[in-house]
Amino acid sequence: MKFIPLIIRNVLRNKIRTLFTGSSIAMSLFLVVLLYSFLMIQDEILEATKPYNRIMVTNVQGLTGNLPIAYLDRIRKMDEVRSAIPFSWFGGRYREETIPFAQFGTDSKYVTDVLQEYKVPDDQLDAWQADKTGCVVGALIAKNKGWKIGDKIPLKGDIYPVDLELTVRGIYDGDSTVDREQLWFHFEYMDEALKAKQQPMAGNAGIVMLRAKSGPIMPELMEKIDKQFASSDAPVRAMTEKEFQQSFMEMMGSVKFFINVISGIVVFSLLIVAGNTMAMALRERTREVAVLKAIGFGRGTILGMVLCEAVIIGLLGGVAGALGAKLLFATVDFSRWLTGFGFLYVPWRTALLGLVLAGFIGLASGIIPAWRAAQLSVVDGLRKIV
């Protein structure tokens, strides 16, 4: 503790250099923390869906295969099923936007029972149920696009060759794990439009999402569903919501790998940058280190002081980068500019992990300069000046 003032003074000795080093650590950690937050949030969302006992049913070939809407009633009639809905991805284009947001054709009567954590005010739910062309939108997307109850939302079909003219009848909300950037409309509205155009895609639910009566019966229920449609024209595959989401994540497997590789390269580069800075700082202070050793500062004390200095510089960058990212995403809503990223926030454990990483970068970058300073011969160090 007695040496802290000297360590702090050395950190602030060359403010520009400390600022640049700290900034490079801060910016890199900001990026790393965001990338890891993205991965961690995926896991958190998967965990959050666990208590709702939801099962997703798709064609055995996956999302591209047909899942007849007639299956929905047969699934609903199963004793173990509490409720079930179609959940059909529409993927229409809204005005001039090129990237579609999430739009699903579903059943307004049961959707809030299956998606229990998604909250729609009762009067708005009633209004939606009463309007065939009505829709319900997430609170975040409504805010970002400026939608209000009664607004018209035209969707131009891209996958499906039909256009939908929707009216906002309700706005759903939920906690941080709820995706508040979706739009739900009546499955029948889309299906009737397809039938009117005699499209072969008519009658395809895409996905059936159901809620089991309890958790323990889910494995048995999934097996039962698989068996029931095994010999039909469109055999199905039932899986838990977590498995379904994980299958998406598996497609992102390489993304995970790249995030790890990029983070590794960033950390390694930072080690070199910060290590070089510390080495330069110590080289300039060779004389001072020699004097400290001459008046009795031992190797351990010198080693500790230099390492402390390096850790402080690392942590300064960490506070700015990791905690800065936490603060920034807690106060600024980036979904306004990044559609689909409304769920992105920085969990505390990721921010703290970033801080620890910053401390580690500081420590590791200081090891070689600190070791050299500790080993410096006083005679050689002083000879440079006399």
Binding site: K2, F3, P5, L6, R9, N10, L12, R13, R287, E288, V291, L292, K293, A294, I295, G296, F297, G298, R299, G300, T301, V378, V379, L382, I385, V386
Partner: protein, 239 residues
């Protein structure tokens, strides 16, 4: 006068020191023996390369002799580890350098406090020591000034305060006036004389300056690693 070894603060016993430069052996000190009694103020003179600084480094435990023994304040430095030598220096020695070597990021007070950080003293005790040392060098009013805010002479006086803050038994000064103008050099030499006469501090001073050497009680002359003259009488005569 018969020599009493028990009274010596510094004893160099048959000390030789060689350096290796590109596989060439360079002898710097050759079978040198030296006794510095308690309360002495010895000036070491000699041409460049004669071994003055090497001798000072050996006495300070900053370097080890090739052969021979170095005993300071009764402690054989050869038996001490690196950590032991560091501790020994912090408890027994004070250093004054030609270039002052103050920490530019610390105030005069904090520079003087540096060696005391290694001593088992609390904050108040350290403050007491620092203020006393700064009073001795007449810089009590400049304790909050940084080295860049002081003149060369003042910087060297702060360096002296740092050297005496832990009340060392031996003060080692390497060209303490080498970087100073005549007036500042006189002030520094006055201080060293005061420390020696009033506080009984033993001082070894390496210098090129005969005027500085005259302020010492004893003159030692090194040439090619051997003392060739140690005649304070001659020096006194020349005063």
């Amino acid at each position: 006068m018969p020599y009493d070894a028990s009274d010596s603060v510094v004893q160099l016993l048959d000390v030789s020191k060689e350096f290796m430069r590109d596989k060439i052996r360079i002898p710097v000190l050759t079978n040198t023996t030296l006794h510095i009694p308690k309360g002495d103020f010895a000036a070491i003179m000699g041409p460049s390369g004669s071994g003055k600084s090497t001798l000072l480094n050996l006495a300070a435990g900053l370097d080890r002799p090739t052969t021979g023994r170095v005993i300071v304040n009764g402690q054989d430095l050869g038996v001490l580890s690196e950590a032991g030598l560091s501790r020994f220096r912090s408890e027994n020695l004070g250093f004054i350098f030609q270039m002052y070597n103050l920490m530019p990021v610390l105030t005069a007070f904090e520079n003087v406090e540096l060696p005391l950080l290694l001593a088992p003293l609390n904050r108040a005790q350290r403050r007491q020591h620092v203020e006393a040392a700064l009073r001795i060098v007449s810089l009590a009013d400049r304790q909050d000034h940084y080295p860049r805010q002081l003149s060369g002479g003042q910087e060297q006086r702060v360096a002296i305060a740092r050297a005496i803050a832990n009340d060392p038994v031996l003060l080692l000064a390497d060209e303490p006036t080498g970087n100073l103008d005549a007036t500042s050099a006189q002030e520094v030499l006055d201080l060293l004389e005061l420390l020696n006469t009033q506080f009984g501090t033993t001082i070894i001073m390496v210098t090129h300056d005969p005027k500085a050497a005259r302020r010492a009680k004893r003159l030692l002359h090194l040439e090619k690693g051997t003392f060739v003259q140690a005649d304070i009488e001659a020096l006194e005569t020349s005063r």
